[in-house]
C-alpha cells in the first residue's frame, strides 16, 4: 500500500472512530407522544431566557438581580411572598388570595395601620411560618433598604412608623402617612416575604442562630451574611440555608444547581399550601442563545420552551409536532421615550400637537398584524390593554389617535408648518398663537428628530423602519441610530433629572429600549408614579405635568374609590397627553409547550410560573 493511501486511510479512520465512539455514548430522543391521562411523577424541563441564568437566590434582592431569572423563575418557587400576584389559570396581574400566605390585609387607624393574619404554613424543616419571620424580613429590608429593588426614596418604606408581631400569626404594620389600600397592597405589601428567622438569623456560617436582626447594625450583618451566601452560586445546592423553604419546591440537594444556570427543583414534602406538585422533578435549562434553545426544543429536550422571533417561520413545523403555541404577554408597556430635556429638540417635543401627530403616524394594528405576526397587543396609555384588568379604563381600550397620516399632516399645517411631499416640514409661522409653530420654534426650523433603537430585535427594527416611512410622508424626518441594547438603555436615561440647561444636545431625542419597555412587576399597581410623575425615579424623559401629578397623588394616597376614579382620569389624560409615543407590546415569548405536558392553562402576565399545576401525560 502506498504511503499516501495509508495517510488518507488513517485520517478517515480516526474521524470515523471518533464519530462512532461518540454516537455510542448517548443520544437524544424526539418529543414524546400526544394525548394521554395525567400521570404522577416525571421530569419537566423549562427553558430559561437566553443568557439569563439565575444569579441570586436570597429573596431580598437588589435592582441588579431583579430579572425574571431570579424573581419569578427561582425565588418564589421556594419562598412564597406574603401576597401572591398572578394566576395559573388567567393572565390577570391581580392578588391571588388562594396562593397568598396571609389573609387580605385589614386597614385601620385611618388607613395607617395594616394588620395581616398569616395562614397555617410550615417550613420544610417542620417549623411553622410565623409573624416573627415577617419581622425578620422587615428588619433586614429596612436596614438595607437602599439595596432593595423596590425601594423608592420618599416611598412607603420611608414612612414606616413601626411593625410588630403581637401573636405568632399576626403582623401589624404602622405607617406615618395614609396610602390608598390597593396601592399599598400592590406596590408595598407585595414585596414582603416571610423568611425563616429560626434558620437564617445568623452572621456567619458557623455561628449560632440568634436574634441579631433586632438591631439595625445586627440586621445589616445578617443581611451581609445572607447576601454573601447568595453570591456564592456554586454552593446553592449544598448550603443548608437554602434548603429551608415554605414553597412547593426546593433545590435538589448537592446536584440542584450549576453556575451555568441549570436548576433542578424537587417537591418540598412538607409544603403546606394548596397545589402540591404532581411531577417529581422540575428542571430549568440555561441557553446561550435563542437559536440554541430552539434547537433543543426541536430535538425534544425542552418541554416548555419558546420560538425565537427570528425562527417564527418554523412555527408550522413546531405545531405539527404537537406543540401548543401560546404568546406570553407581560404586565407592561412599550413606548418610544421622549427626552423633554434635550435643548435642541425640547421645543418641538413640548408641542402637544407634534406629539399627537407623531402618534397618529404609528399604525399599531398593522404593526401587530404584519410585523409581529399577530403576537402583540396595542398600547394606548399607561395601563396595559392586555390583560384587560380592573385598572383599565374601558375608554383606554380605544386609541385616541388612530393611524391617520392625513390627520397628522393637517395638525402640522394648521400650526404653521409647510409640509413637503416627502421629508422634513419647515416652520413658516413662528409664534405661540394656536395656529403657530409654538414657543421656542424659530422660522425655518426643520421638523427633524433623531431616534435611537436597539439592535438585535428584528421586529423592532421593522417597526421603526415602517414608522420612519410614515413620519417622512407627513413631514417629520427621523434620523435613525441603531445601537446595542445596553447602550440604548443608558443613553435613554442620560438626562434623567436634568433640565435643558444641563442635558447635552447630543443626548437622544426619541428612543425605544425594548418591547415591553417597562413592566409593572414586582410592584403591580400601574400608578405611573415613578414613570410619569414629576422627578420620578424612572422618568427618563423628565415629563412633568402638574395636573397629572395631582392625579398620581390621589391614586397613591386617596381612598379606594377616589383612587380608582383618579386612576381612570390619569390614564385617559396620559393617553391624550403623550408623555411618550405609545407603541405595540410584543409578546415576552412565544411559548411552545410539549404535547406530553399538561396543566398549562394560562401564562401569567406577572411572569410567574406554576410547575406545581403541571403534569405529564401518559
Amino acid at each position: 500500500m502506498h504511503l499516501h493511501r495509508r495517510i488518507v486511510a488513517l485520517g478517515a479512520t480516526l474521524l470515523a472512530s471518533a464519530l462512532t465512539l461518540a454516537a455510542c455514548s448517548g443520544s437524544s430522543s424526539p418529543a414524546a407522544s400526544t394525548g394521554g391521562k395525567p400521570v404522577s411523577g416525571g421530569v419537566v424541563t423549562f427553558a430559561e431566557q437566553p443568557g439569563s441564568p439565575p444569579t441570586y437566590i436570597f429573596p431580598l434582592y437588589d435592582g441588579a438581580n431583579s430579572g425574571n431569572n431570579n424573581i419569578t423563575y427561582l425565588q418564589p418557587l421556594m419562598w412564597l411572598p406574603l401576597y401572591w400576584f398572578g394566576h395559573s389559570n388567567s393572565e390577570q396581574p391581580t392578588l391571588n388570595p388562594a396562593l397568598s400566605i396571609a389573609n387580605p390585609p385589614v386597614f385601620s387607624n385611618g388607613g395607617k395601620t395594616v394588620t395581616m393574619t398569616l395562614k397555617k404554613y410550615q417550613w420544610s424543616d417542620g417549623q411553622p411560618v410565623t409573624a416573627r419571620d415577617l419581622v425578620f424580613w422587615m428588619n433586614l429590608m429596612l436596614a438595607e433598604k437602599n439595596q432593595e429593588a423596590a425601594y423608592v426614596p420618599g416611598g412607603w418604606m420611608d414612612h414606616v412608623a413601626g411593625y410588630s408581631a403581637p401573636t405568632p400569626n399576626t403582623f401589624v404594620l404602622r405607617l406615618k402617612v395614609r396610602y390608598n389600600p390597593t396601592y399599598l397592597l400592590y406596590n408595598g405589601l407585595s414585596v414582603l416575604t416571610p423568611i425563616p428567622q429560626h434558620a437564617w438569623d445568623k452572621t456567619s456560617a458557623s455561628g449560632a442562630v440568634g436574634n441579631y436582626d433586632q438591631t439595625p447594625a445586627g440586621a445589616r450583618k445578617v443581611y451581609n451574611f445572607l447576601n454573601k451566601q447568595s453570591l456564592s452560586l456554586s454552593t446553592w445546592d449544598t448550603n443548608r440555608l437554602w434548603q429551608v423553604v415554605d414553597g412547593p419546591w426546593h433545590l435538589q440537594p448537592n446536584t440542584g444547581f450549576q453556575v451555568t444556570g441549570q436548576t433542578i427543583f424537587i417537591p418540598n414534602k412538607r409544603y403546606s399550601g394548596p397545589g402540591k406538585p404532581k411531577i417529581s422533578k422540575f428542571e430549568e435549562l440555561p441557553f446561550t442563545s435563542a437559536a440554541a434553545e430552539f434547537d433543543a426544543l426541536q430535538s425534544g429536550s425542552v418541554d416548555y420552551g419558546y420560538i425565537p422571533t427570528t425562527d417564527i417561520g418554523a412555527l408550522g413545523s413546531v405545531k405539527s409536532a404537537g406543540y401548543t403555541i401560546k404568546p406570553w404577554y407581560e404586565w407592561g408597556l412599550t413606548f418610544v421615550g421622549i427626552n423633554f430635556s434635550n435643548p435642541t429638540y425640547a421645543p418641538l417635543e413640548n408641542q402637544l400637537y407634534i406629539r399627537q401627530a407623531m402618534q397618529e403616524l404609528i399604525n399599531q394594528p398593522q404593526y401587530i398584524k404584519h410585523l409581529l405576526l399577530g403576537y402583540g397587543t396595542p398600547t394606548y396609555g399607561p395601563v396595559p390593554t392586555f390583560p384587560a384588568s380592573t385598572f383599565l379604563n374601558p375608554k383606554e381600550r380605544t386609541n385616541p389617535y388612530p393611524y391617520s397620516p392625513s390627520g397628522a399632516k393637517s395638525l402640522l399645517t394648521s400650526h404653521g408648518w409647510s409640509v413637503p411631499s416627502s421629508g422634513a416640514a419647515t416652520c413658516t409661522r413662528p409664534g405661540t398663537a394656536s395656529d403657530e409653530c409654538g414657543a421656542g420654534i424659530a422660522a425655518g426650523t426643520k421638523l427633524s428628530m433623531p431616534l435611537l433603537y436597539p439592535s438585535g430585535f428584528p421586529a423592532v427594527d421593522d417597526e421603526i423602519q415602517a414608522m420612519r416611512s410614515a413620519f417622512n410622508s407627513a413631514g417629520i424626518q427621523l434620523s435613525l441610530t441603531e445601537a446595542p441594547f445596553n447602550t440604548v438603555l443608558s443613553q435613554s436615561y442620560e438626562c434623567i433629572g436634568k433640565t435643558t440647561s444641563n442635558c447635552p444636545s447630543s443626548s437622544t431625542a426619541l428612543s425605544i429600549i425594548s418591547s415591553p419597555v417597562y413592566t409593572y412587576v414586582p410592584i403591580y399597581y400601574p400608578d405611573g408614579d415613578s414613570l410619569f410623575g414629576c422627578g420620578g425615579a424612572t422618568n427618563g424623559g423628565n415629563y412633568c405635568n402638574q395636573q397629572v401629578q395631582g392625579l398620581i397623588s390621589r391614586i397613591v394616597t386617596g381612598s379606594s374609590s377616589t383612587s380608582q376614579a383618579a386612576m381612570y382620569q390619569y390614564q385617559i389624560m396620559l393617553a391624550k397627553q403623550e408623555p411618550v409615543l405609545w407603541f405595540p407590546n410584543s409578546a415576552y415569548q412565544i411559548s411552545a409547550i410539549s404535547p406530553k405536558l399538561g396543566g398549562v392553562v394560562a401564562q401569567d402576565s406577572t411572569a410567574h410560573i406554576y410547575p406545581s399545576t403541571w403534569y405529564l401525560k401518559s
Binding site: L3, A64, A291, D295, S299
Partner: protein, 317 residues
Amino acid sequence: MKRYVLRRSAQSLVVLVIVTIVVFAILHFLPGSPARAILGIKASPGAIRAFNAANGYNRSLPVQYVLYLDHLVHGQLGFSYHLDQSVGSLLTLDLPKSALLVGLSYLIALIIAVPMGLAQALRRNRPLDHGFTAFSFVGYSMPVFWLGMLLIIVFSVKLHLFPAEGPQGASVGNVLQNPSGLVLPVATLTIVTVAQFSRFMRSAAIDTMLQDYIRTAQAKGVPRRSVIIRHVLRNSLLPIVTLVGLSLPGVLSGAVVVEALFNYPGMGWLFWTAASAHDYPVLMGFTVVVGAATVIGNLVADLAYAAMDPRIRYGSR
C-alpha cells in the same frame, strides 16, 4: 536561549500592560454606563450613584486603572456584577471548557489535516488533490454558524444521533461525562480548521518537495517512505507549528459562535455577554488572560521553531 526567553518575557509584560491600558480606555469610552445596564430601567438616580461609588466608577479614569492594576497584582481580577461571581471563578470554569472544545477540535484537525495536506502534495493535481481541495474550499468558506446549524438539523433534529447541545456542566469533569454532546460542536470547529490547516500543509509540502535536499536524498537511494517522513513531513510542519502557536489565544478565548449555537458557555460566550452588559471586570479579566496567551503563544511558536529547525538559534549573535 535563556537570555532570549527572559528578554521576550519582559517585552511580553510590557505589551500586556499596554494592552490593558488600551482596552481599559476603550471600555470606558464606550457609550452607555454599566450601572444602568446592570440595574435596569427601574433604577433610581440614587441607586445608580451608589453602584458607581461601590465599583469606583465615580473616580477619575487613571485612578480607576491604577486601582485595577493594584488588584491585579494582588491576584484579584474583580467581580462580575452581571453574573454575580468573581471573575477568577468565571475564568476558572469557562477557560478549561473552551480549551477543551477548541483544543480538541485543533488536535483532531491536526491529525486529519497533516496527512491530508501531505497526501494532496504527493498526489498534486490528481483527483484526490482536487477532491480534498474542494472540501477545503467549501469548509473554509462556509460560515461556522451555518455549518453548525446544518449539523444540528441533520444529526440531531433528523437522525437523533447526537444532542443539539454541548454537554451541560459547569466543569470540565461534568462536560466529559457527556462526550456525545461534544461531537457536533467539535466537528463544526474541526471541519473549518481542517480546511485551513490542510491548505497550509499542502502548500508547505509542495515547497519542501521542490528543495534540493529532497532530490539529493532521492538520488542517494533513500527509501521513499523515509524521504517523506524524515524530510518532507518534518520540514513542512514548520508553518503548521506557527499556526498552532498563534492559535493558542483562540483556544483560550473560545469560539463565541459555536458556544452560543451549541449552548456551551465558555470563554467566547462569557466575553460576548460581558460586552453586552458592560461588565468591565470580566472584559478586563478576559483581556489579561487572552493577552497573556497571545504573547505566550508567540513565544512558544518561536521556541518550537528552533526545536524543529536546527538552523534557527535564538539568543546567539
